[in-house]
């Protein structure tokens, strides 16, 4: 038996799904090697027998018929890409060819996280090629260009950089390309890896990319000069870079008349401000600067707080933490149980905590409006930033009152204005250069 087969057999001991089997092909007996978890074994054998080989066919004939490529045992990783190897053990030579793949994919599904009424049901799936195909189907443009990248660390991961050559911002494209090429020897497993590849501080609150699962949204971003990174096995597209407009604008809005769209987007902007500021404003007004409130309002707040032991600042922070825990708890539970949890958290706790005079009912109103506003602007990932900043604002409002509230708001503005990814400012609207020009 040849050394090729020995090598494979020794590998089989730790790789249970690596299959090796003897097979009569043409005039010779060969060993067929492949991962049966990736390759559909029966279909591949059927493919070999149906490819027009005669019983006298020699090694070279088989090689040509199956569109083979020379193979040596060191190149085991080609097997991971769904290829199959045929080894001629007498002569110790082998070639690889594309096996019939096993379906490891689900059918194209509807959006899970970004559902919008009257929008197309098509969303990104896990396989890279499916996603590229979906993008091609969505836009049908000869300008759609796809560059392949491979990240080889402990595992191998394929990714594709997709852009519209007519619209893309050249500097941005160059910067992204450069970063991706440089990272070819590293593992790509998650968003933090991606942030590291791009050379940004991992402690930044705002990530450099925007995730979307709707192809239309990705295409709209590309038409505005941005690039899209598709990673094999991720059912979302990474739009680079993240801009402030992603917090308030969706491509979906454009089906509405301009005025309605503007109103909708203004509402989202307002909801960001409400989510960010109202808890801080309440703390500042009630605990530090009650004199700025109208006297009637101040009195009604004071009467609602009679008998409450906690200072406003702690009251707000306590409820905020509880509500964040409820949000965190419901999101990973099965839907049926999540509803029960919401009920307990929302009604029982909310009602009981007021009845027990631990917090005033106004705090609950303020907090509820802030949290509802938190989910009124697009994308769950963006809400996380606002939720964290909100806590900071409450802290400063508790210390410095109205002054602290607005000073921290200015700080947030400075932070937003300071962000610049791939040479594109996060606050792109305020920059003199339009993306893609």
């Amino acid at each position: 038996m040849g050394t090729y087969v020995d090598t494979i057999k020794s590998k089989c001991r730790t790789q249970h799904d690596l299959k090796i089997e003897q097979l009569r092909v043409g005039s010779i007996t060969m060993w067929m090697v492949g991962y049966e978890s990736i390759v559909n074994w029966e279909e591949t054998i059927a493919y070999i027998s149906n490819c027009g080989l005669t019983t006298e066919a020699a090694y070279e004939d088989i090689y040509v018929h199956l569109l083979g490529q020379e193979w040596v045992p060191e190149a085991l990783d080609v097997l991971l890409q769904g290829k199959v190897v045929l080894i001629d053990s007498d002569a110790d030579r082998a070639f690889s060819f594309q096996g019939k793949p096993k379906t490891l994919e689900r059918a194209i599904d509807k959006a899970e996280n970004e559902t919008m009424p009257f929008s197309s049901a098509l969303v990104f799936m896990e396989p890279l090629t499916t996603n590229i195909g979906i993008l091609r189907k969505t836009i049908h443009s000869p300008y759609l260009e796809v560059e392949g990248y491979q990240f080889k660390g402990i595992g191998t991961r394929e990714a594709s950089l997709v852009y519209l050559s007519e619209c893309v911002d050249k500097d941005l494209l160059e910067a992204v390309r450069h970063a991706l090429k440089k990272a070819a020897g590293q593992d790509l497993r998650n968003g933090q890896d991606l942030i590291r590849f791009f050379g940004y501080n991992r402690y930044h609150l705002v990530s450099p990319y925007h995730k979307t699962e709707i192809p239309g949204q990705a295409v709209a971003s590309m038409m505005n000069g941005r690039v899209v990174l598709l990673i094999d096995g991720e059912p979302t597209a990474y739009v680079l870079p993240l801009l402030f407009s992603d917090f308030i604008a969706l491509d979906w809005d454009r089906q509405l008349p301009l005025f309605v769209m503007t109103a909708l987007r203004s509402l989202r902007l307002l909801s960001i401000l409400i989510a960010l500021m109202t808890p801080g404003l309440y703390v500042a007004l009630v605990s530090v600067n009650p004199e700025t409130l109208r006297i009637e309002l101040a009195l009604s707040i004071a009467s609602s707080r009679i008998g409450i032991p906690l200072p406003t600042f702690l009251e707000m922070l306590l409820l905020l933490i509880i509500s964040e825990i409820i949000i965190e708890a419901t999101q990973r539970l099965p839907k049926s149980i999540a509803a029960a949890n919401t009920l307990i958290g929302g009604i029982v706790l909310g009602q009981a905590i007021v009845d027990a005079k631990l917090v005033s009912s106004l705090v609950i109103i303020v907090l509820a409006s802030s949290i509802t506003a938190n989910f009124a602007f697009p994308h769950y990932l963006n809400t996380l930033v606002v939720r964290i900043l909100r806590t900071g604002i409450i802290l400063l409002s508790g210390i410095f009152g109205i002054f602290g509230l607005f000073a921290s708001f200015i700080g947030v503005c400075y932070y937003a204005c300071s962000l610049q990814r791939f040479g594109v400012p996060f606050m792109n609207v305020l920059s003199p250069k339009k993306l893609g020009q």
Binding site: V288, N289, E291, T292, L293, R294, I295, L297, A298, F400, G401, I402, F403, G404, F406, A407, I410, G411, C413, Y414, Y415, A416, C417, S418, Q420, P425, M427, V429, L430, S431, P432, K433, K434
Partner: protein, 364 residues
């Protein structure tokens, strides 16, 4: 389209924001003390002087291309450039010291009487340091953003004052004696025009076009007059003169029944904070940049920390509001010298650079 608008308007918007910070802070009080009646006359003189100096500076800058003060003066040799830049940096550093100290005083009187001044100043200085560290483009974006948010708030506060105003109190309008010229009181109020000096740091960062800046000066001129006449028309000159914060007190006189806030001065203070931060961050950034260009071995980041610490200590050292006003009056001559020397130097330098450039092109 919006990006093109931003490209042209960044500098004028910054110019307006920088003026707002100074005007809404201490200008009205200082101007009320300048003369007995006919306040529009010294205001008019202020604007004329600013216009002349501004034109001189802008023409010089245009000739020089995209160069800031350090780029313009450093080739003049060690001694001359130091003589020009060091006083300029010292003057620029005075702006955040006075602005931040003013705002802290305002905060203590209006909102947080119980907080110690060192804590408020530290918070303001940290915010300023953070703002100055986000880079010139970031500062300009923040200036545009904050102005677009806060300028309407300020206008709302001003508009809310109008029902309380009694316009008869502005008379007599004409002051034929021009007494403000005789005693040099006009020069004390000239601190209000200092933002024009900051334009000299803008050319490498954004486009500085002369016409939009002059138009924005028109808006600023209107603000100058309004700000002086608000306290006069609400309280009368003699009462307004007695106040430390006449503008603030005027805003406090407003009672609007349909807002949830009892005090309109809240809006004024909020907007003022944004403007004070805009001018302070930019002055801190540009002073650090100038020092860095003079002494390249020092890292800009550490210079910024150092300067911020100096601002904090200096503003902490000013013990009381009366002392603050004394400092304001004492630096008048230093300020005037800077106002005159810097634009003339820029103008001459700009002309020289332009001639050299022309010669170079011709010889090619």
């Amino acid at each position: 389209m919006i990006n093109r608008w931003v490209a042209v308007m960044t500098a004028p918007i910054f110019f307006i924001a920088a003026h707002c910070s100074i005007l809404f802070a201490a200008y009205s009080r200082s101007m009320l003390h300048a003369t007995e009646y006919g306040h529009w006359e010294p205001v008019f003189f202020n604007i004329l002087i600013e216009l002349a100096l501004l034109l001189l500076l802008l023409l010089g800058l245009r000739k020089a291309g995209s160069k800031d003060y350090a780029d313009l003066f450093l080739p003049l040799g060690k001694w001359i450039s130091t003589a020009l830049l060091v006083p300029l940096v010292a003057f620029l550093m005075l702006i955040p010291v006075l602005a931040i100290r003013f705002f802290a005083e305002l905060m203590i009187i209006v909102f947080i009487a119980s907080s110690p001044i060192h804590a408020i100043l530290a918070f303001l200085c940290l915010l300023m340091l953070y703002g100055a560290s986000i880079g010139p483009q970031g500062i300009m974006r923040a200036s545009t953003l904050l102005t677009l948010i806060n300028f309407p708030i300020l206008l709302f506060a001003i508009g809310a004052c109008i029902p309380n105003a009694t316009f008869v109190k502005v008379f007599p309008l004409v002051n034929a004696s021009m007494d403000f010229l005789a005693e040099g009181k006009l020069f004390i109020t000239l601190f209000s025009i200092c933002p024009f000096l900051l334009l000299g740091m803008l050319p490498p960062i954004c486009k500085v076009k002369i016409l939009p800046i002059l138009l924005s000066l028109g808006v600023i001129a209107l603000l100058y007059v309004i700000i002086v006449y608000i306290p006069i028309s609400i309280y009368g000159l003699n009462a307004a003169k007695l106040m430390y914060f006449p503008l603030m007190t005027s805003f406090d006189s407003v009672n609007i029944s349909w807002t949830i806030f009892d005090r309109i001065s809240l809006f004024y203070a909020v907007a003022l904070l944004a403007f004070v931060m805009t001018i302070s961050t930019f002055t801190l950034y540009s002073s650090a940049l100038m020092v860095h260009k003079m002494i390249p071995v020092w890292r800009e980041k550490y210079i910024r920390y150092g300067l911020c610490l100096i601002v904090y200590i200096l503003s902490l050292v000013i013990p009381s509001w009366n002392r603050y006003i004394e400092i304001f009056t004492a630096d008048t001559w230093f300020r005037l010298a800077i106002y005159i020397v810097v634009p003339i130097a820029v103008f001459l330098r700009g002309g020289f650079i332009e001639r050299q450039e022309r010669k170079r092109v011709l010889s090619k």
